[in-house]
C-alpha cells in the first residue's frame, strides 16, 4: 500500500543512493519500509574514528510530520546517548522539522558524535568525563569503537 509516509521514504532512499553523504549509510528493512537499518562511521579526528555504529530507525505513518525513533544498536559511550541506545538530539525531538530526511538525520547524528553537548547529558558519566577527564573519556570511547567491530 502506498501512503504519503511510504512514498516519502522511497524518495529518501533514492536520494540517499544517488547523493550519498560521507560516512553514513542506511536502507529499509527487507520486508518493511517503515523500519530502517543504518550505519554511521565514526568521524575522523575524533575518538569515534574507525567505529562502525549500527542504528535502527522506526518511522510512523505520520512521517515526515513526526520524527522517527532512532536508536543505536551498538553500545555507545557518549554524553548524549542513553544506555538503551536512545539519542538526545533536539532535531529528533522538539526541533524536528518535516523538511529533514533520512540523510539529514544520519549526518546530524554523525556530527553529534564529534560535537557532544555535555550540558544536556543522557549519560552523566560520559558527560562528566568529557568535561573533566578527557583522556579517560577517550579511552572509554575507544573501547566502544573496538566493540562495534565485533557485534552483528
Amino acid at each position: 500500500m502506498s501512503t504519503a509516509a511510504r512514498r516519502r521514504l522511497m524518495r529518501d532512499f533514492k536520494r540517499l543512493q544517488e547523493d550519498p553523504p560521507a560516512g553514513v549509510s542506511g536502507a529499509p528493512g527487507e520486508n518493511n519500509i517503515m523500519v530502517w537499518n543504518a550505519v554511521i562511521f565514526g568521524p575522523h579526528d575524533t575518538p569515534f574514528e574507525d567505529g562502525t555504529f549500527k542504528l535502527t530507525m522506526e518511522f510512523s505513518e505520520e512521517y515526515p510530520n513526526k520524527p522517527p525513533v532512532v536508536k543505536f544498536l551498538s553500545k555507545m559511550f557518549h554524553p548524549n546517548i542513553y544506555a538503551d541506545g536512545g539519542i538526545c538530539l533536539d532535531i529528533l525531538q522538539n526541533r524536528w522539522s518535516p523538511t529533514y530526511d533520512v540523510s539529514a538525520i544520519l549526518t546530524s547524528i554523525q556530527s553529534l558524535l564529534s560535537d557532544p553537548n555535555p550540558n544536556s547529558p543522557a549519560n552523566s558519566m560520559a558527560a562528566q568525563l568529557f568535561k573533566e577527564n578527557r583522556r579517560e573519556y577517550e579511552k572509554r570511547v575507544k573501547a566502544c569503537v573496538e566493540q562495534s567491530w565485533c557485534d552483528d
Partner: protein
C-alpha cells in the same frame, strides 16, 4: 470606580435604572473582545520567542488558560460588584431574583463557560468542515458523526445568534427585560449602579483589601491593572491615532522580527515540496514565511503543529495562498 462614576454622571439626566441597549451592547462587546486580545498577545510573544516550549503549550491551550483567568477574574467581580468585569466598566450591576440559589455560580456558568463551549464548538466545526471537504479518512462511525455534525451545526449557530438578535430587539422595544441569552438563562437583569450600591461595593472592596489571603489579592491587582490598562490604553490609542494622522509619512516598523533569509537549496526549492520531497502538487504558498508546498502536505502539518514547517513561525490555514503557475495551469 472612576470610570463608573463618569459614565453615571453622563447618563443620569436621561436614564432610569434600566440601562440603554447601547450600554449593554458595548459591555457585551468588551466582554467578547478580551479573549481574542489575550490570544493575540500570546501569538505576538510566540512570534518573538518561537522556540519556547512553554509558550507553545500556552498558545495551544490558549482557550483553557483564558477560561481559568476569566473564571477567577469574573468570580472576584461578581462577589465584589455583582457584575462582570465589562459590565462594571460600563457602570452596570446585576440584580438577581431573591429566590434564586447560587446566583454567582449561575452567572459564571452562563457568561463564562457557555461562551467557552461555543468558541470550542466553533473551532471543532471549522476543522471538521475542512477535513470533510478534503476527504481525510476515518473510521465509519466517526465519519458518520462528523458529517452529521457538519450539517447540523450551522443551524445551531444560526439559532443561537438569532435568539441574541431577537432578545436585543425585544429589549429595545421594551418587551423583554433580558437583552441576551446568558442573562435570560441565568434569570437576572442588569441595572445602572446606584449611589447606595456603590458605597456597598466600596465597603466590600475595602474588606477584600484587608483580608490576608493571597489569591484574592492577586486577582484584585490583576483586575485593577486591566481596568487601568483599558482606560489609559484607549486614551493612548486615541492620541496615537491623532498623531499618526498628522505624521502619516513616517513609516512604522513591522511588529515582529524579520526572519533570517532562508537558505535556498536550488535543487529542492524550484519544483519539489520541502515536506514530501516530491514534485509539488496543488502548489500552495504559506504567506507567513513565503515557502511553497503541496497543499495536502502543508495543511496536514499546520493542523497538527500550527506553525511553519521550516521557520517555526506560528501559522494556520488562513495564511495559505493557492498558486496558479503557468506550468500547472
Amino acid at each position: 470606580m472612576a470610570q463608573a462614576n463618569f459614565i453615571n454622571a453622563g447618563v443620569t439626566s436621561t436614564s432610569s435604572p434600566r440601562p440603554s441597549i447601547f450600554q449593554l451592547l458595548a459591555s457585551g462587546g468588551l466582554h467578547r473582545s478580551i479573549c481574542p486580545a489575550f490570544e493575540h498577545i500570546l501569538r505576538l510573544l510566540k512570534t518573538r520567542h518561537h522556540s519556547s516550549q512553554a509558550l507553545d503549550l500556552l498558545y495551544k491551550y490558549c482557550d483553557e488558560f483564558w477560561l481559568l483567568i476569566d473564571l477567577s477574574l469574573e468570580s472576584y467581580y461578581l462577589k465584589t460588584y455583582n457584575a462582570l468585569f465589562s459590565e462594571h466598566f460600563y457602570g452596570l450591576t446585576r440584580s438577581f431574583k431573591s429566590n434564586q440559589r447560587h446566583p454567582i455560580l449561575r452567572s459564571l456558568l452562563f457568561s463564562v463557560i457557555l461562551p467557552y463551549v461555543k468558541r470550542k464548538l466553533d473551532r471543532v466545526f471549522e476543522s471538521l468542515r475542512e477535513s470533510v471537504a478534503d476527504g481525510v479518512p476515518t473510521s465509519k462511525i466517526l465519519e458518520f458523526s462528523r458529517l452529521y455534525f457538519v450539517r447540523v451545526y450551522p443551524y445551531i449557530h444560526m439559532i443561537y445568534e438569532g435568539l441574541h438578535l431577537f432578545l436585543a430587539i425585544a429589549y429595545t422595544l421594551g418587551r423583554s427585560s433580558y437583552h441576551q441569552l446568558s442573562t435570560q438563562l441565568a434569570g437576572l437583569t442588569l441595572t445602572q449602579i446606584t449611589t447606595e450600591a456603590q458605597s456597598q461595593f466600596q465597603e466590600r472592596e475595602l474588606k477584600s483589601r484587608n483580608s490576608a489571603q493571597i489569591l484574592p489579592k492577586i486577582i484584585r491587582s490583576f483586575a485593577q491593572t486591566l481596568t487601568f490598562g483599558l482606560e489609559t490604553g484607549s486614551f493612548i490609542l486615541q492620541f496615537f491615532n491623532h498623531w499618526q494622522s498628522r505624521t502619516e509619512h513616517i513609516q512604522m516598523g513591522p511588529t515582529s522580527d524579520i526572519p533570517d533569509p532562508p537558505e535556498i537549496d536550488p535543487e529542492i526549492s524550484k519544483t519539489t515540496c520541502p515536506i514530501c520531497h516530491g514534485p509539488r502538487r496543488t502548489e500552495t504558498l504559506l504567506s507567513i514565511s513565503g515557502y511553497v508546498f503541496c497543499y495536502v502536505c502543508v495543511v496536514k502539518y499546520l493542523r497538527q503543529h500550527g506553525k511553519c514547517p521550516i521557520t517555526n513561525f506560528p501559522a494556520n490555514e488562513d495564511s495559505l495562498i493557492r498558486l496558479y503557475s503557468q506550468e500547472s495551469s
